[in-house]
Every structure is written in C-alpha cells, then in structure tokens.
Symmetry: C2
Subunit: 305 residues, 2 copies
Amino acid sequence: MSLKLTILGCHSATPRVNAHPTAQFLEIKNHNFLIDCGEGTQVQLRRYGVKFSKIKHIFISHLHGDHFYGLIGLISTFRLLNRESELHIYGPKGLKEIITLQLKLSNSWTQYPLLFHELTSTESELIYEDEKVEVYTIPLDHRIYTNGFLFKEKSGERKLNVNAISKYKEIKICDYQNLKNGRDFMLQNATVLKNETLTLDPALPLSYAFCSDTAYFSEIIPLIKNVNCLYHEATFLKDKEALAATTKHATAAQAAEIAQQAQVKQLIIGHYSGRYKNKEDFKIEAQEIFENTLLSIEGKVFEIN
Amino acid sequence: MSLKLTILGCHSATPRVNAHPTAQFLEIKNHNFLIDCGEGTQVQLRRYGVKFSKIKHIFISHLHGDHFYGLIGLISTFRLLNRESELHIYGPKGLKEIITLQLKLSNSWTQYPLLFHELTSTESELIYEDEKVEVYTIPLDHRIYTNGFLFKEKSGERKLNVNAISKYKEIKICDYQNLKNGRDFMLQNATVLKNETLTLDPALPLSYAFCSDTAYFSEIIPLIKNVNCLYHEATFLKDKEALAATTKHATAAQAAEIAQQAQVKQLIIGHYSGRYKNKEDFKIEAQEIFENTLLSIEGKVFEIN
C-alpha cells in the first residue's frame, strides 16, 4: 500500500509566474482527491499529467482566494469536456452560493451532478467514508472558518499465508475471502483452524493530514497523532513570528513543533510567503525541531509507504 | 500619437499550458485599460511586465468564465499589494454580486475604492469619458448578454506651426495654448491672423474596437466604421460555420467580412478554439476577404499609429 501526493501549488497569497497557490492531488487506495484549488490549478493539473476524469472529490479548506479561486474554472472546464460523473465538493458554507451564482449568471449549469457538502462544524467530523478510506475535518485556527483534512486508509483485509494454507487440500479458492475477512476454518473432521494460523496481519493503514492555513494550534495534535505524513503550512520563518500570529499563519519552527508533538512520521511544509527567496531556510528552521521535514515543491510527487 | 495593445490571452474556453483565455491591455493617450480578465490574467500581466498600478479601468465583455474568472484574483492581489487608488470595473449586471459575495465570505474587503459600472443596455452607450478618451459599448450577439468596447481618442489640440509663428514677435509663449485651442490671433495693429495660418491640423484621433464574443453580427458595422484597429473573435474556421452559428461565435471569414464592410484599417483575430493546431489557417482564411489581418499571439504588442 502506498499513498501518493502531487504538489500542484505551494505558495501563499498571489499567484506569480512559477509560483502557484495551494493545490494538491492525493492518491490513496485508488481514490483520488483534490485538496484546495487556487487560481490556475486546472493548468497545473494538465502540466503534471493528472487526468481530470480521476477527480471525483474536491476538498476546500477555506474561502481565501489562494485556496479556491481556481475551483469555478475547473468546474466549468469539466462541463466543457462533457463530464458526466458526479463531482463532490467539500468546503465551508458559502462555497455553493459562490459557485452557483456564477453558473447561473453565465447560463452554464453543469450537465453532470455537482454535489456540495458544506461544512460548518468547529469539531472534527467524518465527512467522507467508503469501504477503503475515510476523511475527517481538522478544525484549524485561521482568520476565517478553516478546516484541514485527515485522510485515513481503513484497515485492509488479512493476507493469505500461502505456505500454511497449502497444507490443507480442503481449503479451496472460494474459501479465501472468508479467511481474508478473519474467519476461522473448520475441517471436515471438525478440527477448527484458527484464522491467525492461516493468514498474516494486513499492511498497516496509512494516513495523511493536510493542515493549511492555520496559526500554531495545539488542539490539532490529538487528531493527527502518528499520521504517516503531515502537510503543515509554514508561511513564515521565525523572524516573522509576530506577523504569523497576527495573520494566523505558522512559522516553519511551529509546523515542526506540531509534527514533533504529534509524533508524525514525516512533515511536509509549504504555503511559503513570497518574501523569502530561499526555501531551504524553511527546511533548516524546521529540521532543528523535526528532522524528517521535506519541502513542498511544485510538481514534486511524494510517495508515502 | 499611437495606441499600444498587448495580448495577454487569446484562446477560447479552458486555459491550458501556454494557452490563456481572453485578456488584453490597451494603452491609449497615457490611459491604461484592461479588457477582459480570464483565469490567470494576473500572472500574464506579470509575465509581460505590465505594472499593476497602471490598471485603473477594467472592461468585462460578458460573464462566461474565459472572460472574467481571473478578475476576483486580480482584485484580491491589488488588496494584498496595498493598493489605494480607485479601481473601476465595467461589465454586465451581476458582476458586482459575484465579486462582492466572494469578498464578503473571505472577509477581505478591499481597502481601495472598488467601483462597479454595471451594464444592461442593448444599445451602444458612452460608458467612459475624459478630456482625451471616450469608451462606448458595442452590443454583440452571443449566448448571454455581451458587449464589445470601442475606445476612441478625442480630437487633439492643433499643432503649432513654428515657422509661421516665428515671424511674429508679438506671439508669446503664453499665447500658444489659445492657438492650440484654435483661436485666431490679433496683432496690435488690429490685423487678425487666422488660426490655420499659425497652426497645423492635429494628428487624427485613433480608435480601437474590441468585439468578443459574438456571432457574425452586421449591426456592429456602423459602430466600428473606419476604426484604426478591430479585434474580432474568430473561434472557428469556416469548416465549422454551423457550430459557430449554434454557439454564437464567428469564423475567421466572418470576422474578415465584418472588417471589410466596416472599412477598418486593420483586423486582429483571436479567441481560437483549441481544436485547431495551426493558427496560420485563421489568417489565411481571413486574408482571402480582408488582407490586413493579423493573428493575436500571447505576449505580442501591436502598435497602432
């Protein structure tokens, strides 16, 4: 099992040539999620070879422009490409009104089902679930209502222990699914074979937490405890800690502090302010506190195993 | 006198890598006008070195996304850059609601005056005027309410005929403005010198007409008669004339037909459909009808004298 994260944009505030606002594409258990959608995201998707048809669920953290101004364009492009499949959008209340007003005034309703799941809770909640993956909100501390998102694989099926099974001719292929589901096996002589003698533990489920935009906010720590990968915004370096506090953003050191306290396996930082020319400084600052810190870079793909 | 037009984007429908939707920057008599503002326009302005502070007036033709989805981002960026001067926006009714809803929900009102001039008339009207320039709407025929725009220099001052004036010591520098304004000059001996003996005709005022998006629509011809430069959309070639009619777009041949009938000096075409790989085909088709046809190309600057 693995989790694949493509960085489409990782800069804050205004888009510039070669510096796009927040957008990420997450692949997890054959599910594909778009996280945030700043202006120009549809072009970034094309640039980095993400097929539009893969996108069925879009998560919007908050209604600052650098996180969603590209959404209406993407929705419109899906329409022009004759999309038929459902598109689900999860984001703050108000997003539906913004999008539908524009579709109405352009007389361009989508021919595909466009389904909004508007968020208002300030408590973490389960907002998506199927047999393989679940997604929870992570309420954040920003200037307006903002959620991060926690993507978690569900525990998979047990794996067949082929060597053990091969000793019993009575176990047929049609029994395998029951074994994967954890059931014991009874031989015709009434002997019960315990499931754990015939199967192996499933791979550990993976998890990814996206936290942007937010001030340093310790309340998220229990929600993201032990995740395999945490993306945490780091708009500033600690030289601008006061400005970070005023604008409700985090410094690289604060992102690392959160990662360290939550004992995550890996930290990725981004949402850099345009005032810093050398992104390596963010890594240096964070690594003083949390060693396994990586920089988000546009077009970079992180494989999380 | 000259008129300078920078093409920021000239493709229809969805933005792609190196193919941006409609936006143009027009410089005329030290005025600077942005015409349409598709997604990514702010990055195109940066790419082609247009100073944001120059933009005081933005004209939006219609509310299809490829003509205005970049506007909210540009307005937000002006805010982040601490703009103070007024920004005037001319466009269809509804545009103000779209923009203000997003500013409200992001709790990001502009600190600079944002002034909307909403358009509803289906007759040509004067929407901007000062001592040097006037701008009229050109009602077009598209699927939703759409205006083109006619930018006209006003007749300039007469030019001093330095040779003629130098013969009369009585004419002082303080008299020059009266001469430029067309007044005669009376010598102390009561002889009247006719203005045209002391001045030359002003340069002919220039005009630029922007017409996009629109079907072939002969009603615009009297409005754009004799303009120095006409930009007319040419989404399709004539192989798709039926599709052009259905979608209320024009072919290259139709754009040229309009140019020819309106006896304009120069035609620029654009708003190309992504289905055509070779843009030269548009030029070839148009030039069969109107020889002085040029192709819009991103980043290209047209100087119109």
